[in-house]
């Protein structure tokens, strides 16, 4: 299998070097490691790039240009996988990212890179079209109780949905909840039914269930 060709945007030299090293060690090819918006946009226009890992804050204004660049590249190249890393995780930004297309998107706290295996796994899932949300966003949404279709779910189904939002596959969910994969599949089918999600490819329904849960 060809290594995945990744664009990396991070303005801190140390972190950029560290992330490049980490990705190269884990069989990715870093096609460009940039530290500002202009170079990032140029790198993203390169048709050989297959995914991007982007910091939210970057020069020139050090606000949210990384996020905006991620959303705009997904407008130009629908379904282009982007994993956004940030020192802070903001629900508002998570929604904006998720609204930029179905799947192939991730939003993680920067500290998550310290668990190398988990981080690499997250990037792979995003590249495969999955949705990966930081557990802290998921937890914040869980704290909120609103009158939504999600209220129809049982406690267990909600737990499964939360783990789905973190981007886990059935096997991962089964492991986290200490149940069989079959039980997880049953819960997921029941979630789809309760959220009135049409029969489609399974992946899209997973993403839609997460979007419904975040109420976008």
């Amino acid at each position: 299998m060809q290594p995945l060709r990744v664009v990396l945007a991070e303005d801190h030299a140390l972190l950029r070097a560290g992330l490049t090293q980490l990705l190269e060690a884990k069989d990715f090819t870093v096609v460009a490691a940039v530290d500002n918006l202009a170079e990032l946009e140029r790198a993203l226009d390169d048709p050989s790039a297959e995914a991007a890992v982007v910091d939210v804050r970057m020069p020139p204004t050090f606000t949210d240009e990384g996020l905006r660049a991620a959303i705009s590249v997904r407008a130009r190249r629908p379904g282009f996988p982007v994993l956004v890393l940030s020192q802070y995780v903001e629900q508002l930004y998570a929604r904006e990212l998720l609204a930029s297309g179905e799947g192939a998107v991730g939003y993680l706290l920067k500290d998550r890179v310290s668990d190398v295996a988990e981080f690499v796994d997250a990037l792979r899932r995003v590249a495969d079209g999955g949705t990966v949300l930081d557990p802290s966003v998921v937890a914040a949404v869980l704290d909120r109780r609103r009158d939504t279709p999600v209220d129809r779910l049982t406690e267990r189904e909600r737990e499964v949905l939360a783990l789905m939002a973190e981007g886990r596959a059935n096997a991962g969910i089964a492991q986290a909840l200490v149940v069989t994969e079959k039980a997880v599949a049953k819960h997921i089918n029941s979630i789809f039914a309760k959220l009135d999600l049409p029969t489609d490819t399974d992946d899209h329904r997973r993403v839609r269930a997460v979007l419904e849960w975040l109420r976008i």
Binding site: R57, F62, Q91, L92, R144, R146
Partner: protein, 395 residues
Amino acid sequence: MSSSPAVRPDDVRPDGAVRSGRWAVTGYALLQVLLFVPIVVTFVLVAVSSVLVVVWVGILLLAGLLPAMRGLAGLHRSMAGRILGTSLPAPYLPLTGGPLADLRTRASDPMTWRDLLWMLWAMTFGFVVSLLAVVLFLGVVTLPIWWYGVIPLLRGRAAVDRAILTTGRTERLEQRVEALTASRAVVVDHSAAELRRIERDLHDGPQARLAAVSLSLGLADDLFESDPEAARRLINEARGTSSTALGELRDVVRGIHPPVLADRGLAGAVSALALDMAVPVELALDVPGRLPAPVESAVYFAVAECLANTAKHSGAANSWVSLQHDGSVLRGRIGDDGRGGADLRKGTGLPGIAARLAAFDGTLSVSSPPGGPTVVTWEVPCSPSASSSPRTMRS
């Protein structure tokens, strides 16, 4: 005889107000003459009621008379303003609460004493001046004197009215300095307390944890050869501790200046706040561009505090936030359909917000009767930020 001639440059004051012509001025004089009787009656009644206060009836009488006295004074204040071609402020103390509290405020207001003094003037020399103006007009033979004399005459009276009925420039400046000194003291206290809190948070949290990380890594380094398994455990531990330290640093930064506020400005940051609320929040945000950073920050924390109160105490099912900026004033309203009972004088949250907004000449008011609903309103004068580029801040 023509009415007042076209406006001469001399008659246009810097503030754009136009001085009244001789016809209007004569009309005012007539009105002042007619108001002589009400003024005398009010003055006498006030004097009598003040004596009757000792037998309580006076309090009842004063409750009706003091507003009437203010009405008369106010009428003359606006006439004097028109004659002089400038608007005159009415520098009364603000009224706050029930009828009794209002009466106490009115009675202790130095302006009330000036109103009384003014009545003495208006009943005597002031009356004579106005009467003279009217007589000169009605006397037909004296019309030429009226033609040239009425405006200087009435301006003279208006100048005395103004001197008594409004505070002077110096007095106003003194009041302003007093208000600024008080709000500055609050802001200085507030920032000193904030700095102490930040220092303590950093010292107890991330600093201690980073020291622990360093210690673990040092130990691991030492154990690498002899006990690789223990070294790995220490490194894992260090990783966990550094994650916690980062989390604590994030919380500290959010408490100083939330990143989303730096990124998106007030409207964006308030939208983000609303997303995190358990109670649904309806938003009506009309804040074009960016406001000065200190105002954005103060208003953001005001909204955050109010929404936190709503979530904690109100038991509301719905809430709403509106922010509007009309180019010079930012107006905010937060309401909920909860049980009410919020009080600006209790606790630290609302008074803290009021003090912070006061630093920008902002005002805050709370309406929260028992049983609800609660509505918090504020106004902060501010112009949009001159530089539209966001501040540079490293992530």
